[in-house]
């Protein structure tokens, strides 16, 4: 790709520094309409993102057409001219790293037959319960990302991915399940069986009286609430510009001392595992919360330089056209494990409307989906409908424990968490 070197040379002539992100990939998917495949898709993806830095002014642009890199470079430089200048101490230089590919499975094949096979196994799993399958999907992908900058960084990463999902219904009771991995290690039968189980066992749900109850959030329900309101408060930019409730609490106890939260970019088989972040900074473990005490926020280079902090290598990119932002790689909740479902509790598999939570205060009120009474670890009577109202910061203060089992939900790896005395609004 000689054009990348040309781009770097041309950029270096006109601005202090240039960063190039180029991604290319293929994805194949097959979708079910009820029990039959109605669509098979192949996607050819290609994108170029350019960032320029000149006297502390950061510019950016993107295009799907790498042949038009000159137009894209011009647009990036023009955008930098409008940006407010800030302190800038340089893009990273290359660091020798073990170049083992961490999210690439050479055995993963990207073809419609493999996708079809995964759907077949999910359907078989779903047939374990008397429900109707409404839709499902299986996607396989392979992609290559390249980060190059004018300070000598040139990292190439190959990724593979498989994701599957199935939705089912029994009367007016729905159940959905999914799995996602960089490796061909998912269990499609189990995914299908679980989707059908949830629909089947949620039907005939009973009303619940409003009151305060102990609630066991599944990793899925927990991930939705964390993502909507807690994780944005750990973002260094939000902290410094006044959009985080945690801003002045570094070093303070902010939650139950049995809880820790960290980002582990090197986690085996983690969906977000990587040796460098989206700006080419070498990644490292970040301890956000240690035994209940707030210990760190997440920074990219821009935010770190501006506020006199160090980058935690937390820059992420949702593709070439998305630009860089502060995020995490594998966000993990850890702590001593207990039997969270020994005593009677409301198990909540999912919530409806987590994104409507108040991202500043952390207050939420969401509808429950696939909620059951649970005792001795066993599912008991389903709950028909109810709302859960609470606060994502306060709910961590005095928890009833976290489960042994962990589940990967996107870039989070979470246990189930037992919360005490949560407000449930029923009939």
């Amino acid at each position: 790709m000689a054009w990348i070197d040309q781009l770097l040379r041309e950029g270096a002539r006109r601005v202090d520094e240039v960063e190039v992100f180029f991604a290319k990939g293929i994805a194949v998917s097959a979708d079910l309409k009820r029990k039959n495949i109605n669509i098979a898709t192949r996607s050819d993806e290609c994108g170029l993102g350019i960032r320029t830095i000149d006297k502390g002014r950061i510019g950016s642009s993107s295009t799907h057409n790498p042949k038009k890199w000159k137009e894209c470079l011009n647009a990036a430089i023009a955008s930098g001219k409008l940006a407010t200048p800030q302190r800038w101490d340089g893009l990273p230089e290359p660091v020798a790293r073990d170049h083992e590919e961490i999210c690439h499975d050479p055995l993963l094949t990207v073809d419609p037959e493999t996708a079809t096979g995964l759907l077949g196994q999910m359907l078989e799993g779903a047939s374990q319960h008397p429900v109707q399958v409404t839709s499902g999907s299986a996607t396989l992908s392979v992609s290559t990302d390249i980060i190059v900058n004018s300070c000598g960084v040139r990292y190439t990463s190959r990724y593979t991915g498989v994701s599957i999902s199935l939705e089912s219904i029994k009367d007016q009771s729905t159940g959905t399940e999914f799995a996602q991995s960089c490796f061909m290690d998912i269990d499609p039968f189990a995914v299908g069986e679980r989707a059908a189980f949830l629909a089947f066992h949620s039907s005939g749900g009973q009303e619940i009286t409003s009151g305060d109850y102990d609630v066991l959030l599944s990793p899925l329900a927990y991930a939705e609430l964390l993502g909507a309101a807690f994780i944005p408060a750990l973002n260094g930019r939000n902290v410094h510009v006044g959009r985080s409730l945690l801003a002045k609490k570094l070093g303070e106890s902010i939650m139950d001392s049995h809880l820790s939260m960290y980002d582990d970019p090197f986690r085996q088989r983690g969906l977000g595992s990587t040796f460098w972040d989206a700006e080419g900074m070498p990644t490292k473990r970040i301890d956000f919360v240690r035994d209940g005490v707030l210990s760190s926020f997440a920074y990219d280079l821009r935010t770190a330089y501006r506020y006199g902090k160090e980058s935690t290598a937390s820059a992420i990119r949702g593709g070439a056209s998305a630009g860089t932002a502060i995020g995490h790689h594998n966000f993990i909740i850890d702590g001593p494990r207990t039997g969270v479902a020994d005593e009677r509790v409301i198990y909540v598999n999912g919530v409806v409307g987590a994104h409507t939570a108040n991202p500043m205060s952390g207050d939420f009120s969401v509808e429950l989906s696939n909620a059951f009474w649970m005792e001795d670890g066993e599912f008991q009577a389903p709950i028909r409908s109810a709302m859960l109202a609470g606060n994502v910061f306060a709910m961590h203060k005095d928890i009833g424990g976290i489960s042994d089992e962990m589940r990967q939900i996107g870039s989070m790896v979470l246990p189930s968490i037992r919360l005490q005395g949560q407000r449930v609004i029923g009939k």
Binding site: A30, K33, I37, A40, T63, P66, L82, G353, S365
Partner: protein
Amino acid sequence: MSEPSSIRYHDLRHVTGQSTLIDIDNGAVESAGTSFFNRAILRVLGSHGWGILQIDNFSPCSKKKFNSLLASASRLAAVTRQDVDLSEATYHALGVPPMQEDPRDVSIEEKTSLLSEIEQAARHPEIVNRRANYIERSEHILFSDSSGHEFSYEICRSGFNVLAVASRNGTVQMGYERVHSISGFDLRHRQEYGEKAAKVAIALLDAGNAKGGRMRAVLDPELAGVFAHEAVGHASEGDLVQEGSSVLAGRVGERIGNDRLSIVDDPSIPEFGFEPFDAEGVAVKRTEIIRNGVVNAFLHSRETLAAVGHGIAGHARAMAAEPPLVRMSNTYIENGDSTLEEMMELCKNGILLKGSRGGQVDPGRGIFQFNAEYGFLIEEGECTRMVRDVSLSGEILSTLHGILLCGNDRSMHPGYCGKGGQSVPVSDGAPHILLENAMVGGSGVD
């Protein structure tokens, strides 16, 4: 290479254009620039179902190259087993409404300076963060199909959001305003939105938490529009009806609300969800989903209309290079004849809910949830204490019966709607409505 013989139909939708984004955060211009996109989707209907190619950086190609793309899509279609049929459709392209001022004629420097005025208008000693974003996206869409239809159009959507965050003694609250349209550049003299965001954020510092439970609720036009979208719109989408994940399936002709209630989706009106023709090239028209309380029709693509019936095609929409899905466009509750005063009086004791933080629905289960930006308690017909973080949930088949009154002051509000990983511009609207027995979620206690 000739066109593969197993192909019953094919279409190509090619989207090119550019987007301009400006982000001002506490006075600093974080970014202000332009990016370019070029994506296409080729759909082929084989003996059973669809084979689809999504192509980044597409360029119009020779007949030979195009036939080889058709052959690739055809090989994908060969793994499908669902028998897909397409309904007949009418074809017509509406003109894109003219813009008063084309945003592309305004320099990015001027846009940045105007946005900055809006952001600065949110300044106040208790406001700890102000953020304003400008979003402009101009798209050129070229559609052609194997039946010989070929249409194109260009549309520019633009607008801004402004956020203000207030803080006092450890309490943090926000106010958020947005203006988006297809009617042209609209950043001039808009400081009032910055001021309003700040005012709401500060007022919310003193607001209480609502006590959850069942009560009467008056919804403002913006929130009532989201109610129509979540409670009825999604469940009327033909693909969900077809696959059995909508509680409205099989209920055409059934009464699910009172006589006063009519809910419409109309992609042809010049609001934020406008489309000159849909993502299958089909003419767009108004669909009355609920007419006088009775389920009247579903929203459809050609595929779902053929499978389900009841309605018209022309409701398929797609992001660039994404497969068309049955989607809402401009969805609203028709005006009734009540005044807000009459509603407050009849409500007597309850809650007035204003603004929207979005919502979500499980259409198969028939349960929806949505969240207001803020509200006021109604006591003896008067608005009293301000409350925050109030959400509403309900069941599609029962809640609509609870609409006691519809106002005569409908207005439309722009937003984006997500489905199947695609986000498309929509508008929702309604007059004020009075809802009986509303399920209000809040963490407050007596």
